[in-house]
């Protein structure tokens, strides 16, 4: 029987949806005879996040580790605390987000094992599928160390449901761990709160080099607003300076799995396709009917995006109005 510890990702008192996806992965581990799934919340003040974690379906309990040093998620500070919790578990999981990618390998090294990066599928408690070569190859790997440390590819798992009123116990863990002071948080840039977060949005509108300027991206922002979508971009558009890099979708940017992905003026380089493979519906609008993006698009429309995108926006707005939707 496996015992799984999930490291919660959170910020500003909110549990990141990636944690609920780790719970789904952990439940797949439990399929061969049941397992205990615990969530660890490391924070300066853990109560709000712990309550959200405790509502996730399928878990056994929430462990809180409260220290002022845990106010910001610094891997060098968090890792030794997780190592102190680890002996009670067969698996330690974190999300394959920048939070988990930063933290979990440090945990794994301290525990003397390599990490399984980006679990896509759980085949057994020690066998997993994971992507390599930018998802152009899938490998089956087997972990043989004394503990499995892994990151969970969030695009591959549905979030576990939250249940109200059925919360599990929340226990404070008391750890005697000396923490390093060699790494200090300085600042974080403001995120655009007006739009959904690209990593977790249900709808994403992305633009490519064909937009031809930063100004032209405005037609895309207007369509995104009409759809309630996040905005993304290809690496080519980022490299051309049209949008900042945190909007980049692809192998070297964000790997996302929205319900609806609109690729506008994106030719579809392998590295971009890697980032959108798990989207449920992919729509491509491009003037080049031979562009590789059409090989993966569920719905393709060949034409001039400067004409078609405003048309689409108008139609979406008219439809929303007709249906009395907000």
């Amino acid at each position: 029987m496996s015992a799984v510890l999930i490291i919660a990702e959170h910020a500003h008192g909110r549990l990141n949806p990636s944690t609920a996806k780790c719970v789904s992965c952990a439940q797949a581990l439990a399929a061969d005879g049941g397992s205990g799934i615990d969530i660890a919340v490391l924070a300066a003040d853990a109560a709000t996040v712990a309550a959200q974690a405790a509502a996730l379906q399928g878990i056994r309990r929430v462990l809180t580790v409260e220290r002022p040093e845990n106010a910001e998620a610094l891997a060098a500070v968090l890792a030794p605390q997780i190592v102190a919790l680890a002996p009670a578990y067969t698996h330690v999981l974190g999300p394959s987000t920048t939070f988990g990618k930063d933290l979990m390998p440090r945990v794994a090294a301290l525990l003397g094992v390599s990490q399984i990066s980006d679990i896509m599928t759980v085949q057994s408690v020690r066998r997993f599928l994971r992507p390599i070569y930018a998802s152009n190859v899938v490998v089956m790997v087997e972990a043989t160390g004394r503990i499995v440390v892994a990151t969970v590819r969030t695009a591959s798992f549905q979030p576990a449901a939250s249940v109200t009123g059925a919360a599990v116990p929340i226990e404070a863990a008391k750890l005697q761990v000396a923490l390093p002071t060699h790494t200090r948080f300085v600042s974080r840039s403001q995120v655009d709160a007006a739009r959904p977060d690209l990593q977790t949005a249900a709808r994403v509108v992305s633009g490519g080099r064909a937009l031809a300027s930063a100004d032209n991206f405005q037609i895309l922002y207007r369509l995104a607003d009409a759809l309630g979508a996040a905005v993304g971009a290809s690496r080519a558009a980022v490299d051309a300076g049209y949008v900042p890099n945190d909007l980049q979708v692809g192998q070297t940017g964000k790997i996302i799995a929205p319900e609806l992905y609109l690729a506008l003026g994106i030719s579809g380089a392998i590295q971009h396709l890697t980032g959108i493979k798990d989207a449920r519906t992919i729509v491509a609008i491009n003037k080049d009917g031979e562009a590789p993006i059409f090989e993966v698009a569920d719905i393709g429309l060949v034409g001039d995006l400067f004409q078609l995108v405003p048309e689409l926006e108008a139609l979406i707005r008219a439809r929303t109005k007709a249906k009395g939707l907000p």
């Binding site: 390599s114 152009n136 490998v139 089956m140 087997e142 890099n245 393709g300 078609l308 439809r319």
Partner: protein
């Protein structure tokens, strides 16, 4: 203790070039590498470029490019020397090593060379593990600054801006430290022909894990099978925006 010379150690991995469409061998034992173009891992090129810029600002004296891999990896180290690294070390090993073993070899080199900074790519574009830098920092018990898009040295400290999912985060770390590079950190320079000639005279040391005194750990992750990814079903073409909206409604995504 740190020596008087300010040194930067940079990791250089030999990988299949990013532009190659990688194919799985029919028997699922690996990917096709025969006749395939090999290059420096793009994130490692960025790591080396950053080290070169730090040296050009007078903040480092020596840059050592380190490779761990087969004899052929000397080609990529020669390219690193042509870009401007002062010397190179290849820790020769034929079979692929997992990240923890790579980190242990790097740690040994760190103990030997006492760099003030180790700059590595955030991941290699072949196995996409993204573990080595963090693991080296853990074994070394030093700071890590991963996914760096800006790096400023200030005496015994470094200020690093990191590309995180929510935007940008800035941290301050004491040196020595491990930094891993993201794409926006810089744009690597092109190698010029005279530099390639000059690089032939620069020292490239060959060693092995055993010669370094590293006992490699037992593998903890075994790759059993390689497969091509699942393919998406072919989609439909529509002729107008109205048809597009209708198709989206039919799929229940609007």
């Amino acid at each position: 203790m740190m020596s008087g010379v300010k040194r930067i150690l940079v990791g250089i991995k030999r990988v299949i070039d990013f532009s190659v469409r990688v194919r799985v061998k029919p028997d699922g034992s690996g990917v096709v590498t025969d006749g395939v173009k090999m290059s420096i891992n793009p994130f490692d090129e960025i790591a080396l470029e950053e080290a070169l810029r730090i040296r050009e600002r007078g903040l480092a004296d020596e840059i050592i490019a380190v490779g761990i891999g087969p004899a052929e990896a000397q080609q990529q180290l020669r390219t690193a020397l042509a870009m401007g690294a002062d010397r190179a070390v290849l820790v020769q090993i034929e079979q692929p090593l997992e990240p923890l073993a790579i980190a242990q070899v790097l740690f040994k080199l760190v103990q030997q060379h006492e760099p003030q900074l180790v700059i590595l790519g955030k991941q290699a574009i072949d196995d996409d593990n993204g573990q080595t830098g963090q693991m080296l920092a853990a074994l070394w018990d030093r700071p890590q600054a991963t996914f760096a898009s800006r790096l400023e040295l200030d005496g015994a400290k470094a200020r690093v801006t990191r590309e995180v999912d929510a935007g940008l985060e800035t941290i301050e770390v004491d040196l020595p430290a491990v930094v891993t590079t993201d794409l926006r950190l810089n744009e690597p320079r092109y190698v010029k022909l005279p530099d390639i000639m000059k690089a032939k005279k620069k020292p490239l040391e060959l060693t092995t894990p055993a010669a370094l005194g590293v006992t490699l750990p037992a593998a903890s992750v075994h790759t059993l099978k390689f497969e091509p990814p699942p393919v998406r079903a072919r989609g439909v073409r529509v002729a107008s925006v109205a048809e597009l909206v209708a198709a989206l409604e039919q799929r229940g995504v609007l």
